[in-house]
Symmetry: C2
Subunit: 147 residues, 2 copies
């Protein structure tokens, strides 16, 4: 069970965009630099965020990206789905061969885990993450100041 890198990078990227959405927007190449991701690879990640309508490029090429919508309404699950279509820990969750008919305790158990994970992903909004991130950064600045 592993999270793919696109989801990881994607969340980091959209947090950075969300943190600067009030201003002019963020350039892709700047994200690549601060997040230390190959700009070419970020190409694909940005593209997926855009096609999921999570970000917009407001004024042409050099205007930078902004969040498309209220950060309090965009959850981590929304971001997750932009890169994973949906969460299915085990295949038989999609067809109705099991789980729905509740054939065995094991599958019920994995179904429960699936729901559990989705609930967690839905519980955090981009607004929450932005707040946490700025707290972290303030802390870092403080430490830097004392050193």
């Amino acid at each position: 069970m592993k999270l793919n890198t696109k989801t990881r990078y994607g969340l980091r990227a959209i947090i950075e965009i969300a943190m600067n959405s009030s201003e002019h927007g963020v350039l892709q190449k700047d994200i690549a630099q601060t997040q230390n991701i190959s700009n070419k690879y970020l190409d694909q990640i940005i593209a997926e965020l855009k096609s999921a309508d999570l970000i917009v490029n407001t004024g042409g090429k050099k205007s930078g990206y902004k969040l498309n919508g209220d950060p309090k309404k965009i959850t981590a699950y929304t971001v997750f789905k932009a890169f994973n279509s949906s969460l299915q820990l085990i295949d038989c969750l999609s067809n109705n061969e099991c789980c729905k008919t509740k054939l065995c305790a094991a599958q019920q158990f994995w179904c429960g885990l699936n729901d559990h994970i989705i609930t967690y992903l839905q519980s955090k909004t981009l607004h929450d993450l932005v707040q946490e991130q700025s707290k972290i950064q303030k802390n870092n600045d403080l430490v830097m100041f004392y050193i």
Copy 2:
């Protein structure tokens, strides 16, 4: 994010063993049949359960497998670890490059998900699963009776 089949099959197999541990034990080939898993493939799964000390083959070849220990003390996480060494949704959880130093909100978030999943896995014991399974089977029998 996917669960591998060994973990899926493994849990189903150990539930079946746990359900018959009081009696004579369960033969591998019988598990293969009832769970509809290739017996050759089950070879590997049983081997991993054994090397994790979760099951034992008490009296030689034809005696069948039994649970090694109290089903109330064996959690789903224990079974999971027999097939996955440990849960690390993202790589940097293992090295201390992040998460411990709390560099970014995204990684804290994934850490949290990781813990969340482990908590869920630890919350269910084999005893719970056995009870659920027998309830399901009783229900099925009842339905069969009325048909």
